[in-house]
């Protein structure tokens, strides 16, 4: 019976092609608008999110500006932080600007970064030559460094820089490795590198601290082993920091990447819902179009309905015939709308330069909406048809 109804519905749609097309067009526009908007918003935010996530959701960044009594975090504080449960490591960061030189070459605007072995462990910037700095370099008396490709290009355009010595602010350092300039995943390092024309050199953190003339660290990244316990760990970190600064307010700030990602996530969800809501107005208009056509169809086919009833069609079977017709119309519109919407998304994401990501949620919403529209707006006309009395229906001219 369902199959018969489908065939009959299809026959009717086929026999009034223009009208069916125009009726479906409303659904096509509605569904494609919903799909395109959702996909575009998700593609754009998805990319932004992955950039943020690549900065590391597994780390807590502490920026300790200190107070009058204590200017920043001491080595003891770092030890205490690293002893917290679920902390896999602590990476202090010292940055200053200085010079790097060798016989005949002087770069006087170089970004000097002080890092420890933990930084090199988690950082995924490619080492193009030589090695990373390790724990053995961190005793404070070892003068080794990792330069970036900018400095390599500036100072060693035609020779192997490994094991060569350069002078950083007058102190000789042996080059242990060279790393890629471009793909720096540390947003701060990227910042500093691009703000200094000559490039970046990384030296052991203690050396950098001595070089800067300070005695405390103001910037520390704390790495978390198990992200699911990050809230508890963050509370413990705060407790240690509070104690370190003797419970003075505003001595430090914590930047937690996962909470930023979370905020962005919920903002993007809200934006998606808002846009989809606006687009679904088009769907409602499309639904009204379907309802209109079905009502006309019921009136036009009153005699046919009367005849079918006289020949033994139950009210429910008549209702099914019209609902299936409405559903078929809206589903055809929905399917065309999905493809059209995805097409629009591909073009738009290409134009705005973000990566197209197919959104199954958008497709599910598009299909679900068109089925719902068919059902809701097909119901009344179908009910009207099924309620017609066969004698009245046969009598109309």
């Amino acid at each position: 019976m369902l199959k018969e109804n489908l065939i009959m519905a299809w026959d009717n749609i086929k026999n009034s092609k223009m009208r069916s097309f125009l009726t479906s067009l409303g659904i096509v526009i509605g569904v494609s608008a919903v799909i395109a908007l959702i996909t575009i918003v998700q593609s754009a935010t998805g990319e932004m999110m992955s950039q943020f996530e690549s900065m590391g959701t597994n780390k807590i960044s502490v920026s300790a500006s200190g107070n009058v009594l204590k200017s920043g975090l001491t080595s003891t504080d770092l030890d205490n932080l690293s002893k917290i449960d679920n902390v896999s490591g602590v990476a202090p960061s010292v940055s200053l600007t200085g010079s790097a030189g060798k016989q005949g070459v002087l770069l006087d605007e170089v970004s000097i970064m002080g890092k420890n072995e933990k930084y090199f462990e988690v950082d995924n910037t490619e080492i193009t030559q030589g090695r990373k700095l390790t724990a053995a370099d961190m005793d404070g008396h070892t003068y080794t460094c990792v330069i970036d490709q900018d400095i390599q290009a500036g100072m060693f355009p035609n020779e192997n820089p490994i094991r060569q010595t350069i002078k950083i602010n007058g102190q000789g350092y042996e080059i242990a490795g060279v790393r890629d300039t471009e793909s720096s995943s540390d947003v701060m390092a990227g910042f500093n590198a691009s703000s200094t024309a000559d490039g970046t050199v990384i030296i052991p953190y203690r050396n950098a601290l001595a070089l800067s003339g300070g005695s405390t660290y103001s910037s520390v990244d704390i790495y978390i082993a198990d992200i699911s316990l990050s809230e508890q760990t963050q509370a413990n970190v705060e407790a240690v920091l509070d104690a370190a600064f003797n419970y003075k307010d505003n001595s430090y700030r914590i930047m937690d990447m996962s909470s930023i990602v979370e905020t962005m996530n919920s903002m993007s969800t809200m934006l998606t819902a808002l846009l989809a809501g606006i687009a679904s107005i088009a769907l409602v208009v499309g639904g009204i179009g379907i309802m209109n056509m079905m009502l006309v169809s019921v009136t036009e086919r009153t005699k046919e309905i009367g005849l079918r009833k006289a020949l033994g069609a139950e009210p429910l079977q008549i209702q099914a015939l019209f609902i299936i017709e409405a559903l078929t119309l809206s589903l055809i519109g929905g399917i065309i709308g999905i493809f059209l919407g995805l097409g629009i998304s591909v073009i738009t994401t290409a134009l705005i330069g973000s990566t197209f990501a197919i959104s199954w949620m958008a497709i599910a919403i598009g299909t679900g909406f068109s089925v719902a529209v068919g059902l809701i707006f097909g119901w009344t006309p179908a009910k009207k048809a099924s309620n017609l009395k066969p004698i009245d229906a046969l009598r109309t001219d």
Partner: protein
Amino acid sequence: MTEILHMKDIYKEYQMGDEVSVVLKGINLKVEKGEFIAVLGPSGSGKSTLMNIIGCLDVPTSGEYLLSGRKIADQEEKILTHIRRKEIGFIFQSFYLLSRHTAVKNVELPLIYAGTDKKLRHELAAEMLKKVGLDDKINHLPRQLSGGQQQRVAIARAMINDPTILLADEPTGALDQKTGSQVMELFQQLNQEGRTIIMITHDENLARQAKRIVHILDGNIVEEAI
């Protein structure tokens, strides 16, 4: 003979605004299996209303109507539908074929609603079209058929569920005399094979071809002639 239709004191009233119009005023009628009856009356006599009640498209306001021994009263539409499916084969003045369906598809329609499977449905419909002399036209659309042929398709459709009564409403009203008499010949033939036929008409010449004539005038059966 088996009595298949029995009407006792049937009244049918319609509410028209404030006024009640009484269309049928105490109809008594018995029909036995194998009869060929013409219900003859001018327009406005109530013969269409009587046909609707016989065909279970409408129910009487009062009185008792038994069809195949079952009482037809103010039942649910669904139950009336099931009774119609089994008992009545309708033939209309203007054929009422579905214009986009072929002859055989039109004949299959009642079987679709009766739930017969597709293959059997097609076989039965083709066979029935052969019986009414249209075996070479089963895949024609109604517009490719003459009026007489269309009415034959409609008769085949009416017969397909093997109904107790063939109920024809002015079956030759839209046909010329020649094709009209061919259709009447078909009715005669079907009646001889034992089919019970009730024909509603205003045409006395047509009515005379039935075995029995029931005159209806102003809502009453005034005379029965054989």
